[in-house]
Symmetry: C2
Subunit: 251 residues, 2 copies
DNA sequence: GAGTGGTCTAGACCACACC
DNA sequence: GTGTGGTCTAGACCACTCG
């Protein structure tokens, strides 16, 4: 018989077995929701896996998978022999793969993009190497100036293999590159990046409305989709007075 | 009977059931090794899970767990209905939680550390907040100058709760902070960081043997151990001409 | 010693990709 | 249609933690 034990930490779950959403995910989402709402207090302990499985009417492996999902996100901590505890109320996302456009839009700043250059041609050597293309493969090469709330923020250089996606000026002024890639079925799934710093040259400073010698954050990135296809190479500079990278790491 | 099918992609595995190393991990390690050595070619396909399970003499869930492990690291790609492919020869580590000391040691540069300041006292407000401590909790506050191959590279400020670890000058000159934390059973498992850039002040430039206005990479980080205990707060500056962050991200 | 998570098995049915 | 991975079950034994 299903009932909520007095003081039990996972009061109600309401699983839908007809839903296409996997059971383990339904369980994980519900638990996460209960933690975020404060119904399951940080520092509190979860019931053990067998009890949880029985009470929710699923098997132990399914419960384990749900708990595992939240452990990977830093919400729960498991200790063999000791139990499972809630250590953080919010999901800490292991670095999201988003573009600057998405980041700005999410924080309510109005992004605007000027496409300075857009041309198709053979990839330069270092780009071809980063993307794993052979020497005569063609890419779309883009230079964009990105504004936030009307102020220049970044100069962005990108290369996208033409096989992946034909790009037009209009697309790029109204959408982030990653948004376009996702829409075309080439959602970035993995990326390798190098973040550094240097000072602005006169030309860069002029474009960014800043002074020569202003600090810049630099980032070069290669991104691949789920199938391992390289979808984008980027080499960007950001005004460091207006932008910084936030990351969450977990081992 | 165990035999290697002609042309089979996972030739020999040699599992040791008496080993404390989990079977799924033995399988994953072996496959990864075969890929790195080139015996299993990038672009090649793995046998299906049932065959693999039968041939290696383990159950399908165990095989799945091994494959999953390599998928998360970007080595393999699974497609429902289509199969499993090798897309990258090397494990791409989701950002390792290491300290600068470890990074330098690994790349063969000789790190040296001068401890400039080391004192115990109540945590400043912003540090207490980052570490989730209450106002009168004490931390060890450290300022260090880090050299690589004899050249100054970074100025590092750290705070470590005294409950976590008592720190001595001598420890810090010969070891990385993360090494000390790990040895004390507080291995960092999760961290949140912000990476930015600015230019050096006169005082900073003097310490780093550089000029005022030189570009600096800045990083502030809070790290937690497996139990969710905050173990370290850091606020560091690096000479951007000599250091950059490399990251691999995956969703 | 009792309780907990960690690993592993041997099945089952389903959804999707490709021929 | 056939083959593949995705999900789920109902057990089992072990290793570790804690009182």
């Amino acid at each position: 018989m299903e009932r909520s034990a007095p003081g039990s930490l996972v009061p109600e779950v309401g699983l839908d077995r007809t839903s296409p959403v996997p059971l383990y995910f339904q369980v994980a989402s519900r638990v996460q929701q209960l933690i975020e709402s404060g119904e399951m207090p940080v520092g509190g302990r979860l019931e053990n896996e067998l009890e949880l499985a029985e009470r929710l009417g699923v098997s132990r492996p399914t419960i384990r998978r749900a708990v595992q999902y939240l452990v990977e996100r830093g919400v729960l901590v498991r200790k063999r022999g000791a139990g499972t505890q809630i250590v953080h109320p919010k999901v800490r996302r292991p670095v999201e793969l988003t573009s600057l456009y998405d980041d700005l839009a999410k924080t309510g700043q109005k992004p605007r993009t000027e496409v300075q250059t857009l041309r198709v041609g053979p990839a330069p050597d270092h780009v071809a190497e980063a993307l794993g293309l052979d020497g005569n493969a063609h890419v779309t090469w883009i230079e964009r100036l990105r504004f936030a709330d009307g102020e220049p923020l970044a100069i962005m250089h990108n290369a996208v293999p033409v096989d992946v996606l034909p790009l037009g000026r209009a697309d790029l002024e109204g959408h982030g590159l990653y948004e376009l890639l996702r829409a075309a079925g080439y959602a970035p799934r993995m990326a390798s990046q190098v973040v550094g710093a240097r000072v602005a040259t006169t030309a860069e400073a002029r474009m960014l409305g800043d002074v020569r010698g202003a600090p810049l954050l630099t980032m070069t990135r290669t991104a691949w989709d789920a199938s391992g296809q390289a979808v984008e190479y980027g080499s960007h500079i950001y005004r460091a007075t207006r932008y910084a990278f936030e990351l969450t790491l977990s081992t």
